[in-house]
């Protein structure tokens, strides 16, 4: 039977719009995108940014304050233990920490996954997840374990369709990032605070600082990662001297403690006394002495540096289209970025409009999170609690909110499509299908999930399945569902 080519293209484009740009198709979604696949995506771009997941509403400041209380309790317990007292379970800081980690992280993560599974604006959420991964804060570090969710909601989601400069500034100076990359403790060596801390004290010998005294000085971790990972990239043309100068400029950025704000520690503060005085030279530009303004000026220049446009546009193309992205697409995005001074809504529209984004062959292997969320969407449901998410994501190598490093989760199929991971995906798909498919027809679910992307061999295999669950598991494990 012959079909009109235009009609066939539109069916395929609708399937690509929903699955490649979004988080996978819910029943009915591909049909809804069919009349205007590109318009379906551009309609999801909005100045107010991403959707907010339904969490318990706790801010990162509240979470950080909670953690400070825990630290105080822990010290108290150590003293008590030294005095031979027993500590009731309710005040046992290890138990409190476990509870905080378990409950807070779980609540936030489940809320995000529910948003992903249910949203009508899958592209908006995918675009957001890209930026959250670009500015990774990981729960791998105990002190940031409970703020990954709030960080994403406060610093990333509102800005994903705004100016990159604003997103950069908000994300890199957010308390969660300052804690994650050790900025909070960084003190300018020539600052009043450092002089105060290194003042001669009675009984202290020359040379080494007295035992138990905290050392005070520079920590260059955040400065380096902003250059390497958030802006110009490792080939962006900076040196060790630029890293150190930038680190000096950033001193003073910190997070409030009980002393500044007994009601609510955990808010961002600028400690002028810890800021390294003087002008700074970063990547060939001189920055006049100043406090917060000096850091801000450097961040603004980094945001509009041409190397930043190239580095991030390559990442966007790699995330949405192919591990080895088409150079023409990167050039297009880069031009859009430079032309608009980093207006992210414009870059998103150009990504959607680019012909390279619509190649029929899917090139991207889904990450475990993308796989699990798209499976829930295909089933027309959403995960109820963390028990539906944590074990499977751990087994597939993508522990909730716990990217292995500031670089974030890997992007390439080579990292995810391993033999072990496939066996894990298969085992999970089997169990998941048995739990969710009930009396529904897997052939119909497959047509809804993949539309024109469903291949004849997969359709045949599903039709021949012995049970509904087996058929649905075949859909989830099919080459075209594993990719996007």
């Amino acid at each position: 039977m012959r079909k009109e080519p235009v009609v066939a293209d539109r069916d395929l484009d609708a399937a690509i719009a929903v699955t490649r740009f979004g988080l996978g198709a819910k029943p009915g979604e591909i049909a809804g995108a069919r009349s205007d696949p590109k318009g379906f995506l551009t309609a999801q771009i909005r100045p107010s940014g991403a959707d907010q997941p339904r969490t318990n509403g706790e801010t990162s400041a509240q979470r950080i304050a909670g953690f400070r209380v825990y630290q105080q309790d822990k010290r108290g317990m150590k003293r008590a233990a030294a005095d031979g007292e027993s500590v009731p379970d309710a005040r046992d800081p290890v138990k409190i920490a476990q509870r905080m980690l378990r409950d807070d992280v779980a609540t936030d993560f489940v809320a995000r996954a529910q948003l992903g599974a249910g949203t009508e604006a899958g592209f908006r959420e995918r675009w957001t997840l890209f930026w959250a991964n670009h500015f990774t804060v990981s729960a791998n570090k105990l002190v940031t374990a409970t703020v990954v969710g709030p960080f994403e909601n406060e610093a990333i989601r509102p800005h994903v369709f705004g100016r990159f400069a604003d997103l950069l500034s908000t994300a890199t100076t957010h308390p969660a990032m300052l804690l994650y990359l050790d900025q909070v403790q960084s003190i300018g060596p020539g600052s009043p605070a450092a002089q105060y801390l290194s003042r001669p004290r009675r009984g202290a010998g020359a040379g080494a600082p007295p035992a138990g005294r905290k050392s005070a000085g520079l920590n260059e971790n955040l400065a380096r990662e902003i250059l390497e990972l958030h802006t110009v990239g490792v080939d962006g043309g900076y040196s060790q001297a630029d890293v150190t100068e930038f680190a000096r400029a950033m001193t003073g950025l910190s997070v409030g403690g009980f002393r500044e704000d007994p009601e609510m520690p955990g808010r961002p503060v600028f400690r002028a006394a810890a800021h390294e005085p003087g002008a700074r030279m970063v990547m060939g530009v001189r920055y006049a002495p100043g406090g917060k303004e000096q850091v801000q000026a450097i961040l603004t220049d980094l945001a509009r540096h041409p190397a930043t446009a190239r580095f991030i546009c390559t990442k966007i193309a790699r995330h949405f289209v192919a591990d080895d992205p088409p150079p023409a697409l990167v050039r297009r995005l880069e031009y859009a970025w430079v032309e608009s001074s980093g207006e992210l809504d414009h870059v998103a529209r150009v990504l959607i409009g680019a012909p390279e984004s619509w190649t029929p062959q899917p090139a991207k292997f889904k990450t475990p999170y993308e796989f699990v969320v798209s499976s829930w969407r295909a089933a027309g449901g959403a995960p109820r609690d963390i028990a539906r998410l944590a074990p499977v994501l751990n087994a597939m190598g993508q522990k909730a909110f716990s990217a292995p490093s500031p670089k974030g989760w890997p992007e390439e199929a080579a990292a995810w499509a391993t033999p072990a991971a496939l066996v894990q995906r298969m085992s999970w798909a089997q169990a998941f299908s048995e739990a969710v498919v009930r009396d529904r027809d897997p052939k119909a679910l497959a047509a809804e999930a993949l539309g024109a992307r469903l291949s004849p061999p997969t359709a045949t295999a599903i039709a021949r399945a012995e049970s509904r669950a087996e058929g649905f598991a075949l859909l989830l494990m099919s080459p075209e569902f594993q990719r996007r």
Partner: protein, 416 residues
């Protein structure tokens, strides 16, 4: 209260410690004799392991001054007049005392950018520069092994590390859910994947490896390791309890890896990763953050050594990291990204000797860019020496394919 963990669950817990194992399997061949039994394990400590804490140069006159409250003293486990091991490395120290562990205290890759990701790429690809190649040197080394038979690469842990990616077909195994032997899905999927160049081979290897894993684990379940399967998790355990538990998990991981390697047809080459060495703040000295991580490393090595049993004499283990850390303590009780660090070489057939490579000293003038321990040995030379002397790779294959553009990095010979 005690919890009985199955080995699979214990290994799953290892994922939480940032531990993962990767293996390159090569069926042993009787015809090739001795070489076919040789085993190589590469342990990568990710994040930039501080060599001056791993093997503190306690006898260097400048060490205490640079390291201040991070410096170790009498608590360190002495090796010679200059060097000691961190107190958390008790098992390694035992091995060193009988000549089965040596240290290379000032080793570095050719990369000098101080970026984790770039330096790990260079460490794992074996290239002279970053993005020099997209495959791992340990994978390419398989092609140069003397025994020419079907070769299988295996990684344990859900993600594949660069060091084992490449032309040698790789498998992997993850300590998660097992396979339902009754299900038809595996067979049906293999059929559905038959034209898929990525998913087809990957699933086939995953299923085959799962079978080997059952054997590797059942072989270990009875015997010396069984008492370790019981873990204390009750009150009073506190932080110390969690540490002990973590070490048990790490020891089991090493033991399971040993079990894999002892299986008939099991891997001859393995790589293992440990995360969490990026100690920018509150690094600690004899105790603390870094000490905990080193405790895990020691436990993994102990598990390997114990689990390999008589095969230990056929095994070399190299522990390496992407870069060292600043010679001076930074402003936050930690250390920043540096250059040279320590590599450990362990094995049942090491030749006796002192440190591997020269010690540049810690005088200000000797520091690299006035901040880092200066490298005196190219990491590639160390790997090349082990591959040549222990695994029998020929010199041409080493220079041409395993470590291209590395002629300046002379192989460190005479270790085994």
């Amino acid at each position: 209260m005690t919890a009985h963990l199955t080995r699979r669950r214990a290994l799953l817990a290892a994922a939480g410690l940032g531990l993962s194992v990767d293996l390159l399997a090569r069926p042993a061949s009787a015809a090739a004799g001795d070489l076919a039994n040789r085993k190589l394990v590469v342990v990568i400590c990710r994040g930039g392991l501080d060599g001056l804490s791993l093997t503190p140069p306690v006898g260097d006159p400048d060490y205490q001054g640079l390291r201040r409250n991070l410096a170790l003293g009498d608590d360190a486990l002495g090796l010679d007049g200059t060097f000691a091991l961190h107190p958390a490395l008790g098992s390694v120290h035992h091995l060193a005392k009988v000549g089965q562990a040596r240290i290379a205290p000032a080793v570095a890759t050719p990369d000098r950018a101080r970026s984790h990701f770039e330096a790990q790429d260079v460490l794992e690809t074996g290239a002279a520069v970053v993005y020099g190649t997209s495959s791992g040197w340990l994978n390419r080394a398989v092609g140069g092994l003397k025994v020419q038979r079907k070769v299988e690469a295996l990684s344990v842990g859900p993600t594949a590390p660069l060091i084992l990616r490449g032309p040698a077909p790789a498998s992997s195994w993850s300590p998660g859910r097992g396979i339902d032997a009754q299900a038809r899905l595996p067979t049906m999927l293999q059929d559905l994947y038959k034209d898929d160049p990525v998913l087809g081979p990957a699933l086939a290897r995953g299923l085959a490896t799962e079978t080997m894993a059952q054997a590797a684990m059942s072989g270990l379940a009875d015997g010396a390791e069984t008492p370790g399967m019981t873990m204390a998790t009750g009150p009073g355990g506190g932080v110390e309890g969690y540490l002990r538990q973590g070490q048990e998990v790490a020891r089991k991981l090493g033991g399971t890896l040993a079990g894999f390697m002892r299986e008939p047809g099991g891997p001859q080459i393995a790589a293992l990763s440990l995360d969490g060495f990026d100690t920018h703040a509150n690094q600690g000295a004899a105790k603390g953050q870094l000490a905990n991580r080193l405790g895990y490393l020691d436990a993994v090595l102990d598990g390997l050594h114990t689990g390999l049993g008589s095969e230990w004499s056929n095994t070399v283990v190299v522990v390496a990291t992407e870069f060292g850390r600043t010679a001076r303590v930074n402003g936050t009780g930690g250390t920043d990204h540096g250059t040279a660090s320590t590599a450990l070489i362990l094995g049942g057939s090491l030749k006796p000797g002192g440190i591997v490579g020269d010690w540049p000293g810690l005088k200000t003038a000797a520091l690299y860019e006035n901040r880092d321990l200066a490298p005196t040995l190219d990491m590639r030379g160390l790997f090349k020496g082990v591959l040549a002397d222990h695994m029998g790779l020929d010199r041409r294959a080493l220079e041409a394919t395993v470590f291209p553009d590395s002629t300046a990095a002379r192989p460190v010979t005479g270790l085994v």
